[in-house]
């Protein structure tokens, strides 16, 4: 047996790739931008017609994710929406009472719930319930070598891990938002009729007058945007961690923070945009 010769160490200084301090922020935008493009590509390929006899592990994954991210959140969303409807009607009635206009609360409720409260509450609940879980799961997969295993097999982790979750969120959030709008209105009706003692017919009349299809449309469109933000940000935070277990918790925390900021920032931008478009306000 021959002993391997000992040769001088390489100069590590040449391999130093230190980056300026602003790089992490710029890096985040860049990786998220790439993730958006790759996810859009794989989502489009998922929607394209497939030969019926091709193996489809991704489609099966979407169904499983829908069960976890969508169906699993129904109870939380339904209960919260009902309570938010009650809270909104009480707050509106309290503000309008000095003018003798408590009954007008129904108008504010319908419009506000459909455009704003429904999508934003659902998005915040989904962030609280799932964003940390998504990031933590991906970070754990990275630490466990699952991401590397996919890359070694020549498979894009975005296709097999991110896209099923993103597709499930894109289906689940608008659906949950529609449920939330409906239940928040029911909560408002309970507040108006049972607690404040107003006539149900009057409530329905104001509701009918104030709630237009475009209000629900704007709310659902927002929920699609929020679903994209939650899916991309949570996945990116999970996938970008180093391969060590201690990074998992930090990734989960960052995911919740950035998802909330992303959702609220996007909502602000959409509201500002819609304000200046005739026919949408």
């Amino acid at each position: 047996m021959r002993q391997a010769s000992v040769t001088p160490d390489v100069d590590d200084a040449s391999a130093d790739d230190s980056l300026p301090e602003f790089a992490p922020l710029g890096g985040r935008f860049i990786t998220r931008g790439r993730l958006v493009l790759r996810s859009a590509y794989w989502l489009a390929s998922l929607l394209a017609p497939q030969p019926p006899d091709r193996p489809t592990p991704v489609t099966a994954s979407v169904t499983r994710e829908l069960d976890v991210l969508g169906f699993g959140a129904i109870r939380l969303v339904a209960t919260s929406a009902l309570l938010v409807g009650l809270i909104t009607i009480f707050q509106a009635a309290y503000q309008l009472a000095p003018y003798g206009a408590e009954v007008v609360s129904a108008r504010a409720l319908a419009w506000f719930v459909a455009r704003e409260i429904g999508p934003i509450v659902v998005a915040i609940l989904v962030v609280a319930r799932s964003a940390a879980a998504i990031a933590g799961e991906f970070a754990s997969m990275a630490a466990n070598g699952e991401i590397d295993a996919l890359r070694v097999m020549g498979l894009d982790p975005v296709k097999y891990l991110v896209v099923p979750k993103l597709a499930a969120l894109l289906i689940a959030l608008p659906t949950l938002t529609a449920i939330a709008i409906m239940l928040a209105v029911i909560g408002g009706w309970l507040g108006m009729s049972v607690v404040l003692g107003y006539n149900t017919g009057l409530f329905l009349e104001y509701l009918h007058e104030s709630l237009a299809a475009r209000d629900v449309g704007v709310g659902l469109a927002k929920s699609v945007l929020f679903a994209s933000i939650i899916g991309i940000v949570a996945a990116d935070e999970g996938l970008r961690v180093e391969r060590r277990v201690s990074a998992i918790g930090a990734a989960a925390t960052r995911s919740v923070v950035y998802c909330l900021l992303g959702v609220l920032g996007a909502d602000t931008a959409v509201n500002a945009f819609v304000y200046f478009i005739p026919g949408l306000t």
């Binding site: 070598g145 590397d148 295993a149 070694v152």
Partner: protein
């Protein structure tokens, strides 16, 4: 051994399933220094080393999961610069390599069967039914029994390792890389997995590179053994060479087995 840094002549290089030539890396914080080794087609090579000696890093550099500072890697006759290889070239080459990670690394969101058929779904034109049959057959061959629709976290460690082996072999690779095959397994389960590995190696005739801190793998696969210590291959040769070595790191391995 004779020849160049890999211990192989140019002719032998062409017939190697895998050769690693003077690799130093990874970039930024090199763990390995001037590592060279080869795995003949249908043959074996065992890399022994203590924890944190760079065994897993060696596999990551071979697979291009981390970039090297310098060195070349040849997989099934195709050579790439480990410091500057393009992702496209790697994607193509990786299809000729099967990998069993020390953690098994099954995709936790896919069932056992989906994990095993994943490479078929992505890289071949076989239909769903045929892919399922092939994956189920291979899972049976590696010794996984029972419901194939279970999720990875419902499996025993041995079954996870077996399923990872099935996934690694499903495209019939030129070389199989196995990182710490006995990691986390009790002695009985580890022995079972060894049997399975040997049987599959004979059946598929692929080269096999085993990285482990357990010297028994040198006894199971005695033809080529390297000992990695402090990021360098300090000795390489056959099992007999290993047993007769006077190098301190090698003696530690051999003595440990004697004590066991």
């Amino acid at each position: 051994m004779t020849g160049d840094a890999t211990g192989l002549t140019p002719n032998a290089l062409a017939t190697a399933a895998l050769s690693v030539d003077d690799v130093t890396g990874p970039r930024g914080a090199p763990v390995l220094r001037h590592v060279s080794l080869s795995v003949p087609r249908g043959g074996s090579h065992v890399v022994l080393g203590p924890m944190h000696s760079g065994k897993s890093t060696l596999l990551r550099l071979v697979l291009g999961l981390e970039r090297a500072v310098s060195g070349r890697v040849t997989i099934d006759g195709s050579t790439f610069d480990a410091a500057r290889v393009a992702e496209d070239q790697l994607r193509h080459l990786r299809r000729r390599v099967g990998v069993v990670f020390d953690s098994s690394a099954l995709v936790s969101r896919l069932t056992l069967l989906e994990n095993a058929m994943l490479p078929l779904a992505e890289h071949t034109a076989v239909d769903a039914e045929r892919a399922r049959e092939m994956a189920a057959g291979l899972l049976h061959d590696v010794g996984v029994v029972g419901d194939l629709e279970r999720m990875p976290d419902e499996l025993t460690r041995l079954d996870r390792r077996r399923a990872a082996l099935a996934r690694a072999l499903v495209l019939e690779p030129a070389v199989l890389l196995v990182d710490e095959p006995g990691n986390g397994l009790d002695p009985h389960a580890a022995a079972e997995l060894d049997e399975t590995l040997r049987a599959l190696h004979e059946r598929y005739h692929c080269g096999i590179l085993i990285c482990s801190q357990e010297v028994r793998y040198a006894f199971h696969w005695p033809s080529a053994v390297s000992v990695l210590a402090n990021g360098r291959i300090v000795e390489h040769g056959s099992l007999d060479d290993l047993l007769n070595s006077r190098h301190e790191a090698v003696r530690r391995f051999v003595d440990r087995r004697g004590a066991a």
